[in-house]
Symmetry: C2
Subunit: 483 residues, 2 copies
């Protein structure tokens, strides 16, 4: 759907520039329009929750390098992943589309025959049009069959796992997973990742990321560093074991933070730092039933796999020296589907020919004080079901069956607790200004808001469909299938 069909900015122009007079960044466009477009490093964490940053109240571990990104960059507080599970979220991130538009409706497994359709244009393919060298280091998870892998989707280089690190023979609940392979390019360099290998994943990803940065001598580059951690099973190298004060999850976060520091050092050493955008975010909220092995939503409701805020609202930090004002907070709605069009605008590449859903938030990155927000609404799909819609202040949650973590006590020590699937959630309206925790239904106070959000949702349904109502949608495209 075309955002301009809906009412614009009203109610959501919330950009804030903490401590920096507007005059200093009123014209924040790159000073030298003719210069090489900036390098882009997208650091993607797995299952990290909204509350897992120092800035959002995390306790028990220190993350000085991520904190540095916040202090020198911009932190978003109302940023959403495309969906609340890994594959769908990543497909949305890579294409700028709501995942169900391109045939993604959940998480893929080792036996899945589908993946990202080669007809879709990924962020890597888009940036290559401007001469970017491209690499993914880490987890892919949008198709593990030949023809659907990173080198088939615009990445020059690949080192990492094809899917989640728990999809291996040692899964705590399922014994049917095949050995977990580690890839370099199109080659399997380790056919069966062991526990000892898992403990080295963050280290090895970091080495590869640093190597990629160090090898660049000219031309811009795009590095997608998609950590497997802090997804369960949590593993950490010996040098971070016991380093945090509150257990393995903290140790893992500290090692990821170390990795962020290594990337920053490499950028500084190579001289690239002054013309590089670093974005750090997560694919979805924490996997709550893993208890002390899960992250924190910071108080938001539910978690991974749900369309409540704990599932989809994730941290996002943008560090772009000289352009993004330091130490700022952006409270506008934004989503991972906005990154492709944003990077495209920055790199000067044309948007993909096929319809996408994200819009450029470059002006937010640049700290333009009265930038028009990307959009005033957001659609929360789970699979192909439209479970909620947010329009600035209010979020309408439709009656739907869904996952709930609240009925059972969480697990402990790496063993997951039970989860209720198919829990019946009723229609509810939440005031995000005063109730981001989604605890207080206010539909009776604001029937006119309910009505308006229903009208907006209808437009999305026509376009993308809604399994809750048996609607197929007009503009969905198929996922790719193995060759």
């Amino acid at each position: 759907m075309n955002p301009s069909r809906f009412r614009p900015a009203a109610g959501m122009a919330l950009l804030t520039f903490a401590g920096i007079p507007a005059a200093q960044h009123a014209d924040a466009h790159p000073k030298h329009p003719g210069q090489q477009p900036p390098n882009i490093v997208l650091i993607h964490l797995d299952d990290m929750g909204y509350g897992d940053l120092t800035a959002t109240g995390a306790t028990g571990y220190r993350t000085p390098n991520i904190d540095r990104l916040c202090a020198e960059g911009m932190r978003f507080t109302n940023y959403y992943s495309a969906q609340a599970v890994s594959s769908a979220s990543r497909a949305g991130l890579l294409t700028g589309c709501y995942p169900n538009r391109i045939g993604f409706t959940g998480a893929l497994g080792p036996k899945s025959k589908t993946g990202l359709n080669p007809d879709e244009e990924t962020m890597a393919e888009n940036l290559k049009k401007a001469g970017y060298a491209t690499a993914i280091v880490g987890k892919w998870h949008v198709g593990c069959r030949p023809g659907l892998m990173p080198l088939d989707h615009g990445f020059d280089e690949y080192f990492g796992l094809p899917y989640s690190n728990d999809m291996w023979p040692h899964h705590p609940q399922t014994s049917s997973y095949p050995p977990l392979p580690l890839y370099e390019g199109r080659k399997v360099v380790n056919p069966s990742v062991s526990a000892a290998d898992q403990a080295q994943l963050t280290t090895r990803y970091t080495e590869h990321a640093v190597d990629f940065i160090t090898r660049r001598s000219e031309g811009p580059f795009f590095l997608y560093l998609a950590h497997s951690m802090p997804h369960v099973p949590l593993f950490v190298s010996d040098k971070f074991k016991g380093k945090s004060e509150q257990g393995l999850y903290g140790d893992v976060m500290m090692e990821i933070d170390w990795s962020v520091g290594e990337v920053l050092k490499a950028l500084e050493k190579s001289g690239a730092a002054s013309n590089t955008i670093v974005v750090l975010t997560s694919d979805n909220g924490p996997w709550i039933n893993y208890g002390d092995h899960a992250g924190s939503t910071g108080g938001l409701r539910e978690g991974k796999g749900t369309t409540f805020e704990g599932g989809q609202r994730v941290p996002c930090i943008v560090w772009w020296p000289g352009t993004t004002p330091a130490g700022t907070i952006c409270n506008q709605l934004a989503s991972s589907i906005d990154l492709l069009p944003t990077f495209a605008e920055i790199a000067g590449t044309p948007l993909p020919a096929k319809q996408i859903d994200g819009v450029s938030i470059r002006s937010l990155f640049e700290g333009v004080p009265d930038a028009t927000p990307r959009t005033s609404f957001l659609f929360y799909y789970r699979k192909n079901s439209l479970e909620a819609v947010r329009d600035g202040r209010y979020k309408l949650v439709f009656a739907h069956p869904g996952r709930s973590y609240e009925a059972f006590p969480p697990g402990n020590g790496g063993r997951p607790g039970k989860v209720a699937e198919g829990h019946e959630f009723p229609l509810a309206l939440y005031d995000m200004r005063r109730d981001p925790g989604e605890r207080y239904d206010v539909q009776s106070q604001h029937p006119e808001v309910v009505e308006e959000l229903m009208r907006i949702a209808d437009a999305a349904r026509e376009d993308l469909g809604d399994d809750l109502r048996g609607m197929p949608g007009r503009n969905r495209r198929p996922a790719g299938r193995a060759e």
Copy 2:
């Protein structure tokens, strides 16, 4: 109780210095030990919630001056008011004591005959020993009878309301309140505050605060600027009406932010800014049942009047140019009862002769990287009932009857919704690292933690008592009574 009786730091050394290498603030003590102790400006908001800052995700309004305090100072994420209602919270703040130690067990009204005991030493009295000029501008609320007012408690000057701004004849639910008086010194300068007067409160408080700062020519000063807003009934001056994008609450927050800016300007104009500490905090969490006229807990559970996080965890920002490292976050436990001993240490005054509960967190203010945390535990009292205890990572909530906002829909437009009083909450253990929203009881996973927290609670009960168990406590002192 003496904090040293309990195990120290372990599990809670969480201070983080975002973006600033440790070397830069390793010795952050004032450069000139002989210089005049710093001025102290304590800006106290009323019923502002944890989620009401830009940095904690607030949407719909802009607060550039408060954001500036964050960007140039330190923000605490695990900071608690002394209790979750106004009078008790303020009594604790002013004396460094758990409020029930000094006979405060709730909110006072216009007819209350008790107040802060003249035998207690307030922050103002303590600072006067070092020659501070002292003023309170705004809401007092720790005793409105003669002998219990600000000038009886160490303040040289007073301008403001003796109690909450809803304790007036126009209360939405109670018609028995007398006219609301406005004081200057010991004199009533307006015997019956009108709606038009309420709309000018923030402006007039600000004028008086600026005037007090401007009149200081030598000697340090302590200004306690205790705004009546954003407590209901919400009022705002014409110049901020409709200025926010999401209603009256946002307008009110924008006017308070303007006030913060005026105070900063006055400090800069007078030359005092370089030797002044500004602390901004709130007396308790939001009054949830006022719906759109209430603040946000940012996802924390329950609100004002409860010992859940939404009631007691509040924002706290410390701005101390040249000493507190800029743009930092402190995730250690801290409480408003720590401010008196902190200010005392900074000013070089002796602690009050009577036992207090807070401990100095000066080293946190100074950003000493490995500062020992103030304590590893916190007691959550409601009235004289010990409803919860937190020890670093875990919070044990005892079975107790208490207020719950979750059973009824919140109100709207200034009319409060219903509240359940005496709701029976069961015993529960919450992991604050991963569940600050207190949604997942983990007592079955950690029986040893439950046991230890019960043991720690027993020591508090002996000392301060616990009405839930019919224990009077050994070391409580009486409130003051009217002359």
